[in-house]
């Protein structure tokens, strides 16, 4: 006689764990099933090189919702976020260095352009205003545009009102952010190439788009919505790596009575009639549950875990045409010392923030053009972090960990080439060469390395095509079209099967919002059901 749970959550990533924690907190009997030996999905810390702990995939945090940190008391369970100070963009014989100290940044910008320094004073507050305006969307359950339901659309009316009453200037900015390319948007404001290029980067991270692709301005805003301790656009690294976020949420879930099983890969979601009744593990073990929540992307959930014939063909087609297109890779380096920038020698505070390889918009766009036709960028955009400067515990004394987010690395390669070991090695070497141009001594310091291609991301974490957002953040795949048009409300065509991962609104990043909203929807739905009964 197998055990019975109120809810089974498939996937122990941060969203799955958030969902589990909230359901457990509401008194439900919850079980989380994680395929791997570690919790966290794409938010994991692992010791790949002896003595060096890498934030293997996701490496910075900003979007994690404050209400989640508060409601789940994550600090109590060991979550500590160390703020990153600023971003330096190394160039051939100069650099652009922006820090959280606004005054200093503006002084630095004056070196480049008085206009830009002036525009920057307006730009920051404007974006913060925009982010504040759009933030409520992050906690709304999207309506279905296909049908007119007052209850579904109601949550949007205050928003529509706010929008209507926004000053024309802000309205226009909002429209532009939703429709423009990051480059076009920034061109209106700034003229300094490295500034525009580095700012545009947050518009393309994790997407298969270039800075000149319409729609990327939105992603710009998406990254502006992050806040740490109420400070907008503040980025940080968790002490102990991003894995500690998952562990903290996991501990919160356990403390609330949830169960978590590692190395428990789910083979199938059991469906009887039109409702999900539980899951079957690859070991053949069956687990019954009142509801099943999947924190996996829709491709994995509906195509891999459901038996053929369960799904309506039209729905299945929608699932299959949903775009993933992983575009990024990761290079993690273990170093025996701190490398220096050729353009700014020394090992000062500028290394404590992000180091952005984004000298010009053309550089970024060319990197995209390579990928567009199926080749890893010959000179990729790199977002580099050296977390050990903030948290020395990640490496042996004197040693350092260097985390390089690399774009572009297309999941699908030109011709019929595949991501084999040779391709992976070539990818890693290209990245190191690119770094070497700005950090000539880098190779001398490398004692260990880890090259991660989109294929590796898919194989290790299960993210389809290695898309870190569980689905391309293109305009037609946002809001009421996530994860499948018409099914944006965390429910699925199969009763008692729910979605709760980044695949759902409001999407990716270590945000936790999808997991939280899904849990609240489940609890609401339950209440309603009981009222009916």
């Amino acid at each position: 006689m197998p055990e019975r749970y109120d809810a089974v959550v498939i996937g122990g990533g941060h969203n799955g764990l958030v969902t589990a924690a909230y359901l457990a907190k509401a008194g439900k009997k919850v079980l989380v099933l994680e395929r791997r030996h570690v919790l966290g999905g794409a938010a994991v810390s692992e010791e790949i090189v002896p003595g060096y702990r890498f934030s293997v995939f996701s490496y910075v945090v900003s979007l994690l919702r404050p209400e989640i940190i508060r409601e789940l008391e994550l600090p109590k369970y060991g979550l500590e976020i160390l703020p990153l100070d600023g971003t330096i963009t190394p160039l051939d014989d100069d650099y652009l260095w922006r820090v959280n100290d606004h005054g200093r940044t503006v002084r630095e910008l004056r070196r480049w352009s008085l206009n830009d320094a002036e525009a920057y004073e307006e730009y920051g507050p404007l974006m913060a205003e925009m982010a504040r305006f759009i933030k409520p969307i992050l906690s709304i359950v999207p309506p279905d545009p296909g049908k007119v339901s007052v209850r579904d659309w109601l949550p949007l009316t205050p928003l529509a009102k706010t929008f209507k009453d926004l000053p024309r200037r802000l309205q226009t900015t909002f429209i532009q952010l939703m429709t423009m390319s990051a480059a076009d948007f920034l061109d209106q404001w700034f003229e300094t190439e490295p500034l525009k290029a580095t700012m545009s980067a947050s518009g393309i991270i994790g997407t298969f788009q270039g800075p000149r692709s319409p729609g990327t301005a939105y992603v710009l805003l998406h990254h502006y919505m992050g806040e740490i301790d109420g400070a907008f656009r503040a980025w940080g690294v968790p002490r102990g790596g991003t894995g500690t976020i998952s562990e903290a949420i996991g501990s919160a879930a356990l403390a609330n009575g949830a169960e978590i099983r590692l190395e428990a890969p789910v083979a199938r979601i059991d469906v009887h009639g039109d409702r999900a009744t539980g899951v079957t593990l690859e070991t053949g073990e069956q687990i019954e549950a009142g509801i099943v929540l999947s924190s996996l992307d829709s491709r994995w959930t509906f195509i891999k875990l459901l038996e053929d014939g369960v799904l309506d063909p039209a729905f299945k087609e929608e699932v299959l045409r949903y775009k993933y297109r992983g575009s990024s890779g990761k290079v993690n380096l273990a170093l025996d010392g701190l490398p220096e920038l050729a353009c700014k020698p020394g090992t000062g505070e500028w290394l404590r923030g992000a180091i952005s390889f984004s000298p010009s918009l053309d550089y970024m766009e060319q990197a995209y053009d390579d990928a567009k036709y199926g080749h890893p960028s010959r000179r990729p955009y790199i977002d580099m972090i050296i977390p050990t400067l903030l948290d020395p515990t990640m490496a042996p004394p004197g040693g350092h960990v260097m985390s390089c987010f690399v774009q572009y690395a297309p999941y699908r390669l030109a011709g019929n080439a595949v991501w084999d070991d040779a391709a992976r090695e070539a990818f890693g070497q290209t990245v190191i060469e690119t770094i070497e141009e700005r950090m000539p001594t880098i190779r001398e310091h490398i004692v260990g390395s880890q090259f991660i291609t989109p294929k590796d991301i898919e194989d290790i974490t299960g993210l389809t095509e290695g898309n870190i957002f569980q689905g391309e953040l293109s305009l037609e795949q946002l809001f009421f079209n996530r994860p499948v048009p018409g099914w944006s409300r965390y429910r699925t065509p199969i009763r008692d099967l729910w979605m709760c991962g980044s695949a759902t609104h409001p999407g990716g990043g270590i945000m936790g919002a999808p997991g939280r909203i899904a849990a609240l929807e489940v609890l609401k739905g339950r209440k309603r059901a009981r009222r009916v009964a």
Partner: protein, 525 residues
């Protein structure tokens, strides 16, 4: 002592003439002022060699709004539309070709030989495109709402649109909302397996823009290209007997007969106003014409450049400066001693001939824009109007019109004066790869660079659509949020050109919508 008129229309392009004609019909005194010696704007044709008449920048007129043709009785004014059986012919590098006919069944039948799955997909795709386009046609006749202050009328028209939307049914409705912001390359890739089908269709989403088919929002342009006409998936191919200038002539005749005065060679150099109220215009020769209403069919930037900067104010000048008009289209007209050998069956060459064998080909051509140089292998939409109307070329000879992308207005190296001939050569070379021997047939050619479009046609940035039709310059925010209701910046100033909703293309839509708005605002005479 200046002359006086009720309405001054700046520019005698198709939108200017449509607005002039319908306002004159109301009994208003209308004066149309055209800078160049002839009317027509981008419909203006030219004799590029003795007996060879090339069409305007636009070489087909299939998108012309039906209500415009009827209200202005253009048939009575000599408009004779010629519609070939074929819509689009797309040759492939391997010598094969895909033909899209007006008859969907016939198209599917031929596609079946290439790819049975795509053949079936085409039929349902054509149906879907028509459904969504019919909904867009609704939006295109509406005056966009003012987001800040929606009026009752807006609410009502909004409701109408809502009903039209619901009429689509939940499935198509969702599909419309999903498709609009998509990249046209994705739209066709979802439906078809064969690049030979994807490529040519994708060009409809990027023609006359600086976008490539992988740019988000190009699907909306693709769908809009079929709104209010019989385009469907393949688009229209409709010619005017006597060339595109015959349409211009018909519109001009309609306007004149209705009582409008059309002055050519009359360049407006200033729009006079006091306290943000329009007083009239000043011409290059210094003469002034007083008018309470000035309707500009010129592009938004050019229109605002005619206004007194003090009246506009710094904010508006900054916003106007940010209107995106990145011209990327060039035109090459060829006088040919015979029919080019695209295909042994000349029937197939009577519509649009598109050199865009794959989405990657079209995207690569568009990449050139981003780095400011002419595409070495441009994508081309060509027509041979003399096949439908032999009077356009001497016996047995032909005139060919080729739209060429990408040719960015601003070149990083060199200028168009020095690149002009290379543009012509690149175009002929590219066409020749698909029609061997075409080079030898060329008796004369006319090259129109994006710079010519700016200087000769007055199109700022050389942008034929007046403002890039991206999602950021669309509907209620075309050309600017708050200035999309045809009333434009100053009291009594109206924007009636392609820079206003519903945008570019030979539809007459902006002109007709603007005229209707003027009637609403000033009352019918």
């Amino acid at each position: 002592m200046g002359a006086r008129s009720d309405v001054v229309v700046i520019g005698a392009g198709h939108n200017g003439l449509v607005a002039a004609a319908s306002l004159a019909k109301d009994g208003r005194r209308v004066t149309v002022l055209e800078r160049s010696p002839e009317v027509g704007g981008i419909l203006r044709g030219a004799e590029i060699a003795p007996g060879f008449t090339a069409p305007g920048i636009a070489h087909t007129v299939g998108r012309l709004r039906r209500s415009v043709v009827e209200d202005l009785e253009l048939a009575d004014h000599g408009l004779d539309l010629l519609t070939p059986a074929v819509r689009l012919f797309a040759p492939q590098p391997d010598g094969s070709a895909v033909t899209f006919w007006g008859d969907v069944g016939r198209t599917a039948e031929e596609l079946r030989q290439r790819n049975p799955r795509d053949a079936d997909a085409f039929v349902s795709f054509d149906r879907k495109v028509r459904a969504v386009a019919s909904f867009l046609a609704y939006i295109n006749v509406a005056t966009p709402p003012d987001i800040s202050a929606p009026t009752i009328a807006d609410a009502i028209s909004g409701l109408k649109v809502g009903w039209a939307f619901r009429g689509l049914g939940a499935k198509i409705g969702r599909e419309a909302i999903r498709a609009m912001p998509m990249a046209v390359a994705d739209l066709v890739q979802e439906v078809f397996e064969d690049e030979a089908i994807r490529g040519p269709l994708s060009t409809r989403g990027v023609v006359f823009t600086a976008f490539g088919p992988w740019s988000a929002g190009t699907a909306a342009m693709f769908l809009n290209d079929s709104a209010g006409n019989d385009g469907g998936a393949a688009g229209t191919a409709v010619f005017a007997r006597g060339g595109t200038q015959a349409l211009a002539a018909a519109l001009a005749s309609a306007a004149s007969v209705a009582g409008a005065e059309i002055r050519t060679g009359a360049e407006v150099t200033g729009i006079r106003s006091r306290n943000r109220r329009v007083l009239g215009v000043t011409l290059a020769d210094g003469t002034e014409i007083d008018a309470g209403l000035v309707v500009s069919a010129a592009d938004p930037k050019r229109t605002l450049a005619l206004c007194d900067p003090v009246e506009l104010g710094p904010t508006m000048i900054w916003r106007a400066g940010n209107i995106r008009q990145p011209g990327a289209t060039a035109k090459v007209d060829l006088a040919l001693s015979g029919l080019p050998a695209f295909h042994e069956d000349p029937q197939r060459l009577r519509g649009r001939i598109v050199i865009g064998p794959s989405t990657d080909y079209v995207e690569k051509a568009s990449d050139a824009n981003k780095y400011g140089h002419l595409a070495e292998e441009p994508w081309i939409e060509a027509t041979i109007p003399s096949l439908m109307d032999p009077s356009l070329a001497p016996e047995g000879r032909h005139v060919m019109s080729a739209l060429v992308q990408a040719a960015p207005r601003d070149l990083r190296e060199g200028d168009w004066a020095s690149e002009r001939e290379r543009l012509g050569d690149v175009t002929v070379k590219t066409l020749e790869r698909f029609a061997p021997g075409l080079g030898e047939l060329v008796e004369a050619r006319r090259v129109i660079t994006p710079e010519d479009l700016e200087t000769d046609y007055g199109l700022t940035g050389g942008h034929v659509q007046h403002a890039e039709p991206g999602l950021d310059q669309f509907f209620a925010w075309r050309p600017l949020n708050g200035e999309a209701r045809y009333r434009f910046v100053l009291d009594g100033l109206y924007l009636a050109g392609s820079g206003a909703h519903p945008g570019g293309g030979v539809t007459g839509g902006p002109g007709a919508n603007a005229a209707r708005q003027i009637r609403k605002d000033t009352g019918r005479r």
